[in-house]
């Protein structure tokens, strides 16, 4: 499919690790031209995170970096040098969207804040992704994913469903909150771009990772403000009929949205006698006797495999999920059939199956169409072919560490 939704949009990325790169990857996979700027010699820190092909660390063989930077062009540039800054500003002149993740005070100190960049390109949509946003008492705080996750209240919401009496709050898997922030920023950019189609008006978008996460537990966080520190979530996990259940080879998760789901579950359990007891009838009856019911359910589950429970229960119209490992995901016929995976090819990494995106568009491309760039792969294409520097100038810049 050659039709791309974002053809013609030019994005400059000056960001590292997950949030900023994931944001522009989403745009690049949809057809925007993204130029990624990395620091000379070392590049984006994500290059040094696994998984690596064959488990051997190599900055051009990180699956982590690959996934986050598909479909982009890559250049190296030290924007702290006078020449680097000059090149950066020339790129700003010619782009529609800038995505950056520097601390708010840094951009100001460098004279690269929105007020200045706007004077160079009034149509610029500048997007700043930082742990706590551009304003407020924590704007200068340093935070890694662990810190923004815990600092958002979301970790505490999670800990309310931990199975302990006094749970130690826990973060989400991997870099979940950083992916969330990248997606949130991409959504804001698309809204600004849509508006810009009609007005041509540029603007500055302030994305706080903390707030990106808070938004995802808006119902719980709202409750805290309105009802105080109630223990509704804990109550829910204990009172829920089904819920997380251990089975023969792992866990399944049973959620019942109404009596019709219950009927499916009971059928799978073989229509046991206890299910017909008067006290278990009706939704309120079930909620009241959830612990008793769950004991019966648990006895059955432990004798059966998660895949068997999952498929049988779903075929009986009861929404049960199995707790999957990455091995289950890689082997899933459903994910394969829906196009979650595609073959990737990279000069240093060879060919491998790679996750694409959670959606399919009927008319436009929705997944990567070129591999992640090697470090400085497009220096010549961008600096010589577009900006007009000669190859000699390029090698001189390389010699002094500007590119």
């Amino acid at each position: 499919m050659n039709n791309t939704a974002l053809a013609g949009i030019k994005v400059l990325e000056c960001a590292k690790f997950v949030s900023g790169p994931y944001c522009t990857k989403l745009l690049a996979d949809m057809g925007a031209e993204v130029i990624k700027i990395e620091p000379p010699s070392v590049g984006d820190g994500a290059r040094y995170r696994g998984p690596f092909v064959g488990d051997i660390p190599h900055r051009e063989r990180s699956g982590f970096f690959f996934f986050l930077n598909t479909s982009k062009l890559g250049i190296t540039l030290d924007i702290d040098t006078a020449t680097g800054r000059e090149i950066f500003l020339r790129l700003i002149e010619d782009c529609d969207v800038l995505v950056e993740d520097k601390p708010p005070q840094f951009m100001k100190e460098q004279g690269l804040d929105y007020e200045y960049l706007k004077s160079i390109n009034p149509r610029l949509i500048m997007t700043s992704i930082t742990p706590f946003g551009q304003s407020g008492p924590y704007r200068g705080y340093k935070a890694y994913h662990l810190n923004t996750y815990h600092g958002s209240g979301v970790a505490k919401v999670l800990s309310s469903i931990l199975p302990d009496e006094t749970p130690v709050p826990v973060k989400g898997p991997g870099f979940l909150g950083d992916f969330d922030s990248g997606l949130n920023a991409a959504t804001a950019i698309m809204a600004a771009l849509y508006s810009w189609l009609f007005t041509g008006e540029g603007q500055h978008i302030d994305i706080s990772k903390q707030e990106s996460l808070m938004a995802l537990e808006r119902v719980e966080i709202g409750m805290y403000g309105n009802e105080g520190d109630t223990k509704f979530s804990t109550v829910f996990m204990q009172q829920m009929v089904g819920g997380l259940q251990r089975c023969k080879d792992g866990y399944v998760l049973i959620t019942l949205g109404g009596d019709h789901h219950w009927e499916g579950l009971v059928k799978m359990l073989g229509d046991p006698e206890w299910a017909g007891e008067e006290k278990f009838q009706g939704e309120f009856g079930k909620y009241e006797h959830a612990q008793e019911i769950n004991k019966y359910i648990a006895e059955w589950m432990i004798e059966h495999d998660k895949a068997e429970i999952y498929h049988r229960c779903q075929s009986l119209n009861c929404p049960v999920g199995m707790v999957t490992t990455v091995a289950d995901l890689a082997a899933s016929e459903q994910l394969e059939a829906h196009g979650f995976f595609a073959e990737a090819e990279h000069s240093e990494m060879g060919r491998f199956r790679c996750p694409t995106a959670p959606y399919r568009f009927s008319e436009t491309l929705h997944r990567f169409h070129r591999p992640a760039p090697t470090l400085g792969e497009h220096n010549e294409e961008i600096l010589c072919n577009r900006l007009g520097y000669s190859k000699e100038e390029l090698s001189r810049m390389r010699g002094v560490g500007i590119i």
Binding site: G54, A155, D164, P173, Y194, S195, I207, M214, P319, A337
Partner: protein, 409 residues
């Protein structure tokens, strides 16, 4: 940044016919409503959005369809049209609404819209440039396309539950956030399609899998299996490389601070802030590799130190020293937090039946086109007259006749 309310909203003039329900669908269109889209939500008394009456996390609560705070939270800024889609006349009205809309959003099981006569193939005949989003548990194609789920199901099926929690304990199926992740992905996808439509005039159908919206966030772990056969497990708060990287107990009852150290420089700053020169010289912790290998000892030592202070005291001391630290904010803390207040993360909204409540606002700050909350969620059928009369040009008599026939019930 100037946050002026007089500015144009980014999606002004965009209309969405919203057939979604529960959480994963409605939050997607709520995000677009924050951005200025006119969202007309279609439900009926016979089949209301079940967020009006129940939620997994808060049980069964409301008998009254117009009194749910959960529904209010996920349907701000929207208009409501009540249509009993079991009736042919209602389907005709839905089609007329689609004819004057830019987007259709739905999260029924795949095939339900087709059975109702409102599938993409039909709707594109009525409105050739329509953007339609179909969000389902597993996507609209594949052997499990008819499977259903709720937020914790997606966390389980998407691989996140297995990777969340402590190694010696049960997996943690996240919470409502899984639905809202799916919704956020839907909002992004719709915006991409809207941009394409505005530029080229071409509409399209988006098929989204909620389970995949979760799985995509652990792509690095999936690739580790594909590349190296490594099956990732949950590790609590710990990291593959960084140490210390955990939460540590503080003064008070169940109070915690998160601390993460990536470099030798940060490590030296932490030791200095802890006033512990012996720690800085301790051979067990003298480089990043050793700190990671000896992190059980390290966590013990750091935890003994943090226990002398409050979570905010540790955070202030460490941030001053250039070390990443934040309290594990919880519950009502947030509403006392100076930064949370400064950024106006939560604002009060008044709903005639639910009352005045805090709700979390849009998660972006735009300098020129600020997104905003304009009004509370609608009562079921509150905007029938506006939609049928104003948008579809029906007379009062015609609307009354529809009411009489039970089409609007």
């Amino acid at each position: 940044m100037v946050d002026s309310n007089t500015n144009r909203l980014p999606l002004e003039g965009v209309r969405i016919a919203d057939f979604t329900w529960a959480w994963a669908g409605p939050y997607a269109t709520e995000l677009l409503a924050f951005l200025g889209a006119e969202v007309v939500k279609i439900e009926s008394v016979k089949r209301p959005d079940h967020a009006r009456t129940r939620s997994l996390s808060h049980g069964l609560s409301n008998r009254d369809l117009d009194k749910s705070s959960v529904f209010n939270d996920l349907n701000l800024n929207k208009l409501s049209l009540s249509l009993d889609l079991k009736q042919p006349k209602a389907i005709e009205l839905a089609k007329r609404l689609v004819a004057v809309s830019d987007v259709v959003a739905e999260n029924y099981r795949p095939g339900v819209m087709d059975k109702l006569g409102l599938g993409y193939d039909v709707l594109r005949q009525i409105k050739p440039d329509i953007v339609m989003l179909s969000s389902s548990a597993m996507g609209a194609v594949g052997p499990e396309r008819n499977y259903a789920g709720f937020a914790p199901t997606f966390a389980a099926l998407g691989g996140a539950a297995h990777l969340t929690g402590y190694p010696d304990k049960r997996p943690v199926p996240l919470m409502g956030s899984s639905d809202l992740r799916s919704a956020s992905t839907s909002a992004f996808a719709i915006l991409v399609a809207l941009y394409h439509k505005a530029r080229t005039g071409q509409g399209q159908h988006i098929d989204l899998s909620s389970t995949e919206t979760i799985a995509i966030n652990i792509s690095d772990s999936i690739l580790d299996y594909i590349m190296n056969g490594c099956v990732a497990v949950r590790k609590g708060n710990r990291d593959e490389i960084m140490a210390p990287h955990n939460v540590y107990p503080c003064k008070g009852e169940s109070r915690w601070v998160s601390i993460a150290v990536a470099t030798d420089e940060e490590w030296q700053s932490l030791c200095k802030a802890m006033s512990s020169p012996s720690l800085a010289d301790d051979e067990r912790f003298s480089d990043g590799y050793r700190r990671w290998c000896n992190q059980d000892d390290l966590d013990q030592i750091v935890g003994e130190w943090t226990a002398n202070f409050t979570d905010y005291e540790v955070t202030a001391m460490l941030q001053k020293a250039g070390v990443a630290a934040m309290p594990t904010l919880q519950g009502t803390d947030l509403y006392e937090d100076s930064h949370f207040k400064f950024r106006s993360v939560a604002t009060e909204v008044t709903h005639a039946n639910v009352g005045t409540r805090f709700v979390v606002g849009p998660p972006w700050k735009f300098s020129a086109t600020p997104a905003r909350i304009r009004h509370s969620s609608p009562m079921l059928g509150e905007h029938n007259e506006y939609v049928l009369g104003g948008l579809l040009g029906m007379s009062r008599d015609e609307i009354a006749a529809l009411e009489e026939d039970g089409v609007l019930s």
